[in-house]
Amino acid sequence: MNIVVCIKQVPDTKGGVKFNPDGTLDRASMLAIMNPDDKAGLEAALRIKDETGAKVTVLTMGLPKADDMLREALAMGADEAVLVTDRRLGGADTWATSSTVAAAVKKLDYDLIITGRQAIDGDTAQVGPQIAEHLALPVISYAEDIKVEGNSVIVKRQYEDRYHEVKAQMPCLITALSELNEPRYMTPGGIFDAYDKEVTVWGRDDLTDLDDANIGLAGSPTKIAKASDKVRKGAGEKVSLDPKESVEYIMNKLKEKHVI
């Protein structure tokens, strides 16, 4: 069985978001990490590998420095890694990204494709289902649990107030939630091996089954009209009082604002 896991390198917004004095985001101070939902997807694939001996290939589209993240995936236990990188692919929206990734996936053997539900930088949750669409595969989004049974997968698909237990025939695509599992750590020896391995690097020209009209900034139907860092809402009052005075203070404010 062959599993392809699509992963993305993202800036770490978890807890460590820092702002410049003007209220804009200090991107330079943020670490580049493997997107958490994608890491859960990788862990799910590695657990299937532990059980069935499946081969796990990780695939990313990004800057050359995404090599670090691919090595991390190899150090966790992935068998092979593919980096799709080319200036011509830059500026892609989810349509162009999914078209490109789908063209890369087509070059690989796969029974199961796992992506994260969404990346913490874009939060769109679109690329996974759109890859499935380009490949004409069944898609199950928002997976909380994945089991392989013969030629099928059985997935707990999360909704707001319920879950569906869903069965799909492979090949298919699943998008993983970070709640799916607790990803494993790398091992020290795994790290050393990862740096001895070859990462396959594909540029635009290696993706033959891909139309120029569907890649990069020009191939993206959506265009950014304006982007700005959100300046955070300013702080209001802050008081440090004893408990009794604190209660009086809150009561006064609630009255002032006609809440009570």
């Binding site: 930088d121 939060d123 499935a132 595969l137 955070r232 809402k233 702080a235």
Partner: protein
């Protein structure tokens, strides 16, 4: 594709168990504004089985037309039959704007359909308006008018981007629940009802639903609450949430929580406020023992009044709070509950 062929604003009116979701009415509310700017009308598209009864309510909340796609394959949400149906609707009726809720259904259906009809999709929008693209005329580039400008947060709520889809139709967006305002109900208002049968075909992409398990919670949806009493890890233990529940009860509010609380297993996921939880904007939001990481504040900073209680005076929650109290929640919260009880008793 001729862009001019596409007319009207359509919304996907999500139903679950043949009950329309609140997002359907929110989308109609926003679609109405957009349609007014464009001089066109609003169509609500409902997919399901035995759904004819849902049309009246959509009309009362502002839909001009209701398209019903009634098919046994659409009884419970599955990506493929829903995508076939909505794609068929788009190809047949050619709306210039197609809005879908950014729900667990919409965020699966939206991307699938947008890829199938080959158009752009902007995720999780918090603001939609009609305007020009580019915003300001640029030499050598045609400025297009009457474009849908879709604004959305990204980067964990730290950046805001406005996005257009100038060369493809329909212009598609998923819209964050709880952000758009529904219109007041107009009793007796009728929409034109159209039954559309696109003939859904079973294929290899159909999945089988083996089981449906509903979460057993009977709490009010925190997105509908006017007053939220929200607790973080600082509350200390699941038992200690009793203090917050007492306060919520006396105020007629609801308890919600931060991600840390859900991760610790103290409260269920549907009470979680924040980037990976729900976006809320109640009249009053109490943040109690919540440090206020950006992931949390992204989901609550639009609240009208934010009152924070935290013993750590450097907690970032104080940066978004209107009223911040540095102190021990274990002392302040019960005393506040008592004071409110006394006050409300006096008022009656």
């Amino acid at each position: 594709m001729s862009l001019e062929e596409y007319k009207g604003v359509a919304i996907f009116a999500q139903q679950v168990d043949n009950k329309l979701s609140s997002i359907a009415f929110e989308l109609i509310g926003k679609a109405h504004e957009l349609a007014a700017d464009l001089g066109t009308d609003v169509t609500a598209v409902v997919l399901g089985k035995d759904i004819a009864g849902l049309a009246d309510k959509l009309g009362e909340y502002g839909a001009d037309k209701v398209v019903l796609i009634d098919d046994p394959a659409l009884e419970t949400y599955r990506t493929e039959p829903y995508a076939q149906a909505l794609t068929a609707y788009i190809n047949e009726y050619k709306p210039e704007i197609m809005l879908v809720g950014a729900t667990a259904i919409g965020r699966d259906l939206g991307p699938t359909v947008s890829a199938r009809v080959k158009t752009g999709l902007t995720a999780d929008c918090t603001s939609l308006e009609i305007g020009d693209f580019p915003l300001v005329a640029r030499e050598g580039q045609e400025q297009k008018h009457n474009q849908l400008l879709m604004t959305r947060p990204a980067f964990g709520g730290n950046t805001i981007a406005t996005i257009a889809c100038p060369d493809n139709r329909p212009q598609m967006a998923t819209v964050r629940p709880g952000v758009m305002q529904k219109l007041p109900k107009e009793a007796g208002r009728k929409a034109e009802v159209i039954n559309f049968n696109p003939e859904i075909k079973e294929n290899n992409r159909f999945v089988e639903i083996l089981n449906i398990v509903k979460n057993v919670t009977n709490t009010v949806d925190i997105m509908d609450a006017k007053i939220l009493v929200s607790g973080g890890r600082g509350v200390g233990s699941p038992e200690n949430f009793k203090l917050l529940e007492d306060l919520a009860e006396v105020l007629g509010g609801t308890v919600s929580c931060s991600r840390a609380v859900v991760d610790s297993g103290w409260k269920p996921k549907d009470l979680q406020v924040g980037q990976t939880g729900k976006t809320v904007r109640p009249n009053v939001y109490f943040a109690i023992g919540i440090s206020g990481a950006i992931q949390h504040t992204a989901g609550m900073e639009e609240s009208d009044i934010i009152i924070a209680i935290n013993k750590d005076e450097t907690a970032p929650i104080f940066d978004v709070a209107d009223y911040g109290i540095v102190g021990d929640l274990n002392k302040i919260v019960p005393a506040l509950t008592e004071a409110l009880k006394a006050e409300l008793a006096a008022q009656n």
